[in-house]
């Protein structure tokens, strides 16, 4: 199954290697990994998506915590969360046929961020399926997709569920899951676009 981990790590040289090396050692392929600054000074936030058996989640999280530079780890698992990905897609388009791409971008709520006489760049954020939907349609016209750049997933739990917050609140994760189910039954069901 797909596992999604959110990790807060110290913003220091070599930390990415340590995290990546852990997955390498476990022979787990990282599907996507995004890193950037977080709300906490000196800490970067990673979203790591990896394919591993259902039981592996516990061990991966426990092993991540064992890394000296890792401050916090959250296993998103099936918890209610918002996941987004950013894609930049360069399309071969001439003034004659770019109108069709404009229409498509509108349907997908994507934006055109660069325009030349031979090509244009579409910027799109959304859930993975939406981005793949657009790419699929663009690829129907062979040779039009010139370049594709995807950020990988960025994930954030809904509500206040970061494990450090949960710990600060003094409730166990099981309790917090229960509370979550009680408090927000309707939000759990769907992505809010």
């Amino acid at each position: 199954m797909l596992h999604t981990f959110v990790a807060y790590v110290e913003d220091l040289p070599g930390v990415l290697t340590r995290v990546a090396s852990l997955f390498r050692r476990l022979n787990i392929n990282i599907i996507s990994l995004t890193v950037g600054r977080s709300e906490r000074a000196g800490l970067s936030r990673m979203t790591i998506v990896a394919e591993a058996s259902a039981e592996a989640g516990h061990r991966i999280r426990a092993s991540l915590f064992k890394l000296e530079n890792v401050v916090d780890v959250d296993d998103i698992a099936q918890a209610p969360s918002v996941t987004r990905e950013l894609a930049l897609i360069k399309i071969a388009a001439t003034p004659q046929n770019r109108g069709q791409i404009f229409d498509l971008a509108e349907v997908f709520r994507a934006r055109i961020v660069d325009l030349t006489s031979e090509s244009l760049i579409i910027e799109m954020t959304g859930v993975e399926s939406k981005i793949e939907g657009l790419i699929e349609i663009l690829r129907e016209d062979e040779g039009r997709v010139l370049e594709l750049c995807r950020s990988g997933k960025m994930t954030m739990r809904r509500g206040h569920h970061l494990s450090s917050v949960v710990r600060a609140m003094g409730v166990s994760e099981a309790e917090s899951a229960e509370r979550e189910a009680e408090l927000a039954p309707d939000i759990v069901t769907g992505e809010v676009e």
């Binding site: 070599g14 050692r25 061990r59 999280r61 092993s63 064992k66 000296e68 916090d72």
Partner: protein, 611 residues
């Protein structure tokens, strides 16, 4: 801090530059209290001294020379090794024998890479050591400078953590943090790589200010009320329980608690190789070592058990055999400090993730004694006792002397003559398993052996470290003829440091354990296992170490006495049976009960008459 003013070690040292060791040492210690400007090299030793380090094991070289130049000013004794692998093993043996953090020092490049085997050995067995390496100047880092190697990159998977320090002002903080990491939680090796310019530059040294943040336990430690209640319930209702005691028993200092649990609930105790010493072998509830070369009754008891209580052990493959057939009838309680070990190999029913001693302290009040209506274990204990059969007569001292010398005899006689009280440091292979079977350890930290990594060449250097940590203890190296040659260069270290240890080479002319596998599983194709060795007695003699060859059972006692009574190191070359095998044995990939048993006509099979 009790480590202060330990200048006597320096007086003994052969360093002729130590002109006024006492005055210098006093100065060095003054730095601990008042912030002072020191060079990085001085900060290194001042911080080590502040952390209580009195002995380090190392080998100098270009990139670590500033550190060596500053050493004479500090109350730290340096043991010059003959190969950096030896330095890491010595630090490891020092840590295992004393419970303190061992320290190894090496230069950059090959000096650093030579440490790697020793670091991995410590990693696999959770041993707290700190390795200090020099590196090229920070200005040329990454340029393939002479003797430059990316040692933090190389050791990343075999250290608990490592650091690269390129500023003198970071050094004290990093080193103190390194010590904290090495000994906290599940211990392990930490490497600190220090560039040459960081050793040469100066900075304000403030020991107190460099104190690391308070240790944060792993956030996933979890001992819940419900888990404790469930564990107690399982223990109370079990008919055939077994305690599996591992290395964690000693690491957490839970010897008394495990013993109380066993005695109160009448539960037999099986030991892992590294668990030996955590529970007295002579205790009526002690079953002995489990696993690949464990006694048949231990493994049968585990396979028949309805409850396993795993205490500070990690269900290594040498302990479990084939996982799908492992203890199928048993519920499992796992008490362990490392959350990453839970459900790694064996799925458990109750996980109590925390310090073993603390968890047992919480658990014990819930387990009643037999008088208080607790469980009656007598039926199960009788069943196990009955399963021992003819092999229960373990005292083989009265076996008829057939003119042959078996390694088991040597182990048994060593045990008898040292009253089971020596620190035994073994290498890896057949002799290691015979030692575990025939030398009955009663106390923690008396067996020092490479379990997880199985590092040949470990014994001799680790024993040097153990002896330096515990100078008052009798220390024996037991090594095979193969492994002994891997680090035999450290014989010179023994002489230079005037260390009294006894060395027993169990010499069968083969890489014995590999030969045994070839005999059992490769149609006796003894490829690359027959071993031509030098005359070890002459080799010892060349170093100025006396020795003696032993060829018959009848010679063992006199030879061991001679070694023990010698004031210098002594080597005994035991010429044992060449094609003897360790029994019982679980073939790799087989289940725990599928043991290869001792052959019927085995001369080591005791009978009742041998009592």
């Amino acid at each position: 801090m009790g480590h202060k003013g330990n200048a006597k070690t320096k007086e003994n040292a052969s360093n002729a530059n130590a002109a006024a060791p006492n005055a210098d040492a006093a100065d060095a210690n003054a730095h601990l209290n008042t912030p002072t400007r020191l060079t990085g090299a001085e900060i290194l030793w001042a911080t080590l001294a502040g952390e209580g380090v009195t002995d380090v094991f190392g080998y100098p070289g270009g990139a670590i020379l500033p550190a060596y130049d500053a050493l004479r000013k500090f109350p730290v004794k340096h043991v010059l090794v003959r190969h950096e692998q030896g330095a890491a093993h010595m630090a490891d043996g020092y840590a295992r024998a004393s419970g303190k953090v061992g320290v190894a020092v090496a230069t950059s490049g090959p000096g650093a890479t030579n440490l790697v085997t020793g670091i991995a050995t410590a990693m696999l067995d959770s041993i707290p050591i700190v390795c200090i390496t020099g590196n090229v100047s920070s200005k040329v880092l990454g340029t393939d400078a002479f003797q430059e190697v990316d040692i933090t990159g190389i050791t990343l998977p075999v250290t608990k953590h490592n650091f690269l320090v390129n500023k003198a002002e970071d050094l004290a903080k990093v080193l103190r943090h390194a010590f904290q990491i090495a000994k906290s939680g599940r211990p392990g090796p930490v490497l600190v790589d220090i560039t040459k310019d960081a050793q040469q530059a100066s900075a304000i040294f403030d020991f107190e200010a460099a104190k690391p943040r308070p240790y944060q336990p792993h956030p996933m430690l979890r001992v819940e009320e419900s888990g404790l209640a469930e564990a107690a319930e399982l223990i109370r209702n079990s008919k055939r329980p077994v305690i599996l005691a591992g290395h964690g028993v000693m690491d957490s200092g839970a010897m008394e608690q495990v013993r109380t649990l066993a005695e109160r609930a009448q539960i037999p105790v099986g030991l892992t190789l590294l668990g030996i010493g955590g529970f007295p072998m002579s205790h009526p509830l002690c079953l002995g070592m489990m696993g690949m070369h464990g006694e048949s009754w231990v493994n049968h008891a585990i396979q028949e058990a309805d409850l396993l209580i795993a205490c500070g052990m990690r269900f290594d493959d040498r302990v479990t055999g084939k996982l799908t057939d492992y203890a199928m009838k048993a519920k499992k309680i796992h008490i362990e400090v490392d959350p990453a070990e839970i459900n790694k190999n064996v799925k458990v029913d109750v996980a109590l993730v925390g310090d073993l001693r603390e968890v047992l302290e919480q658990l014990l009040p819930r387990i009643g004694t037999r008088n208080q209506g607790g469980r009656d274990g007598s039926v199960w204990l009788k069943t196990i006792e009955a399963s021992k059969g003819a092999v229960t007569v373990r005292d083989i001292k009265n076996l008829p002397d057939l003119g042959h010398l078996y390694a088991a005899h040597v182990m048994h006689d060593l045990w008898r003559m040292t009253a089971g009280d020596a620190i035994i440091v073994t290498d890896v292979g057949q002799h290691q398993m015979w030692e575990a079977q025939y030398y009955k350890h009663e106390k923690p930290r008396t067996l020092i052996t490479s379990g997880g990594l199985g590092t040949m060449g470990f014994a001799l250097p680790a024993a040097i470290g153990a002896k330096i940590a515990c100078p008052e203890k009798e220390v024996w190296v037991i090594a095979g003829d193969g492994g002994f040659q891997m680090t035999a260069a450290e014989l010179a270290t023994i002489v230079q440091e005037k260390i009294k240890i006894n060395i027993a080479v169990i010499n069968n002319g083969y890489l014995g354990m590999v030969r045994q596998w070839q005999e059992f599983f490769y149609e006796r194709n003894y490829e690359a296992t027959p071993l031509v060795s030098p005359d070890f007695v002459k080799l010892a003699d060349a170093h100025g170490i006396p020795g003696r060859a032993v060829r018959k059972r009848s010679e063992v006692e006199a030879a061991v006495n001679e070694a023990r009574s010698s004031t210098r190191a002594f080597l005994l070359n035991f010429m044992v049976e060449k094609e003897d095998s360790v029994y019982p044995m679980i073939p790799a990939g087989s289940a725990l009960h599928e043991m290869i048993r001792r052959p019927e006509q085995d001369p080591l099979e005791e009978t009742a008459e041998d009592k």
